[in-house]
Amino acid sequence: MKILVTVKEVATVEDEFEIEGTEIAEQYLGADLNEWDDYAIEEAVQLQEDGIADEVVTVTIGPEDCEQTVRQALAKGADRAVRVWDDALEDVDLLDVNAKTEILSAVVEAEDPDLVLSGVQAGDDSFGATGVSVAENLGFQWGAVVNHLEHDFEDGLASVRRELEGGVEELTDIELPAVLTIQTGINEPRYASLRGIRQAQQKPLDVQTLADIGVDESDIETELELTDMYEPESESDATFWEGSPDETASELGDLLRDKGVAQ
């Protein structure tokens, strides 16, 4: 079985930051492997270790800067990586779900995997929609918010649990090929070993333009326009206790005694 994992480098934001136009000012931004994708990579690598998968390929949409994050996925055990980037993507404010779907679908079609694992959502723009959209676009089956996957794939089915609200899980069988969006907690993502990190440097990382994957610029034109970004007006009417830790702790102590919940 061949597995494709979608990997995104997400922007992280410091506690204090400033907004410039519709973006957070660059100096307050960091970069990290998307938390949900980390679990998707781990699941794929475990499937490989269990002898179920024979190849794990990652696909990323992003500029050269994000290769560090891609290498992280390779260091954890993926075999090779595809990174799609193009001048045409450089100035795009908001790469919406449809644009990502076009790009990822083209790569999935070329790679022809049996299983695609994506994260439930990206920690920065949190659309939570790309995996399912790609599946529908390609005629793959899918399951959203998967927190357990059986590794035997009996009868060509992926037996999964979908994590619903309120501590309820749905037990579902999904035909392959399929896209599963992976929820945190499905496994324990490993840290890359030193050996893994060294090996990752040698693994193939294939860079492709839109033309390379056969996507026309007009296919990624988005109908959504990001028009504003602002810090939400604080609705906080909290009492902020000020002072040294012993002073604030003592205020909290008084509150707990007042409420009669601690002595």
Binding site: A11, V13, D15, I19, I24, V97, N98, T101, V120, G123, S126, F127, G128, A129, G131, V132, S133, A135, W142, G143, A144, V145, L164, E165, G166, G167, V168, E169, E170, L171, T172, D173, A178, T181, E188, T222, E223, E225, L226, D228, M229, Y230, E231, P232, E235, A238, T239, D246, T248, A249, S250, E251, L252, G253, L255, K259, G260, V261, A262, Q263
Partner: protein
């Protein structure tokens, strides 16, 4: 071309709250576009559901009788067929786990843009302005689009519709292609049982990712002991395997309403807040004065938990 089609959410025989909230959101949008509000209710006891959904502001309810529980293929087929018939401007679905299992698919199938997890919607007759959060609630954004779209709405952002409506209830004869159904739901399981029930506690000491390391959890355990409180947590602590699932507060964990909830090193992501906002008194201990948890906190200490918690233990142990 100006109508709104909102899709109800139900599970194991019960309509979920967001179904009534999407009536409010849908009515507001339909008033702005000058169209009608249609509700689709698919699978399960649809006639019973339709009677309950018949609240103020609903024009027509379309029932699709097919199977008992949610199946995304059935939903996708039924909704795209309803879309073809009604030609609404907006399809509105809940941003629930199931909503995210079909909304992106119908958007793709219908070749429409999709905007998920909206917290506010506004249409001036031409342009839709959708408000959504980014970066875990650190910022809000507005996104504009013209024309038709699929939109998912976050739960508990719009009030539930009330009253008794005079909607027309119609059975919609969807043509469900069984061969195109690629997944089968075999059952459900409740998880997170076990020795403690955090929803019973009067005082919860709840810990989040700010604790950094598993070893540091002892500090919070000591605090819970000193206070005679019950220990709970945000999701990452459970995902890491540091605490069992029955300690998790939130959308996919437990809903708790203690007298006092102390959130220590928890940012207050929407899925966490869904599980604890009903607490009588909320105290946040967090180094970030702008963390979203501050919006719902009654009291806050903006400081390092590793400095404050030992002092608090002393208060009660000393």
């Amino acid at each position: 071309m100006t109508d709104v089609l909102a899709v109800a959410d139900h599970r194991r025989g019960e309509l979920r709250d967001v179904s009534y909230e999407s009536i409010t959101a849908g009515r507001q949008l339909a008033d702005e576009t000058g169209g009608d509000l249609h509700i689709a209710v698919i699978s399960g006891t649809v006639d019973d559901f339709a009677a309950k959904l018949n609240r103020d502001g609903v024009d027509t309810i379309h029932t699709v009788s097919h199977g008992e529980e949610f199946n995304h293929d059935v939903y996708s087929q039924a909704i795209t067929q309803l879309y073809d018939e009604l030609a609404p401007q907006y399809v509105l679905t809940p941003n629930s786990v199931n909503g995210l299992d079909y909304a992106p698919a119908i958007a793709n199938e219908l070749d429409l843009p999709v905007v998920t997890d909206t917290v506010d919607l506004d249409n001036d007759g031409e342009t839709l302005v959708a408000t959504r959060e980014m970066y875990g609630g650190k910022v809000e954004t507005t996104t504009e689009l013209e024309g038709d779209a699929v939109i998912t709405i976050r739960g508990a952002e719009w009030p539930a519709a009330e009253g008794t409506g005079d909607a027309t209830i119609e059975a919609f004869d969807a043509d469900i292609d069984e061969d195109a159904i690629g997944s089968t739901v075999n059952g459900f399981e409740e998880v997170g049982g076990g020795d403690v029930d955090i929803s019973e506690a009067d005082l919860l000491v709840s810990v989040g990712r700010g604790i950094e390391e598993e070893e540091n959890l002892d500090l919070i355990r000591d605090l819970a002991d000193a206070l005679g409180a019950t220990l709970s947590s945000s999701r990452p602590i459970v995902d890491n395997g540091w605490l069992p699932k029955n300690r998790q507060v939130g959308q996919s964990g437990k809903v708790v309403t203690p007298d006092v909830y102390i959130a220590i090193g928890i940012s207050g992501a929407v899925q966490h807040v869904a599980g604890m906002k009903g607490s009588d008194t909320i105290v946040a201990i967090n180094t970030d004065p702008n963390a979203p948890i501050m919006d719902i906190a009654d009291y806050a200490i903006v400081d390092d938990l590793f400095d404050v918690v030992p002092e608090l233990i002393d208060e009660f142990d000393g």
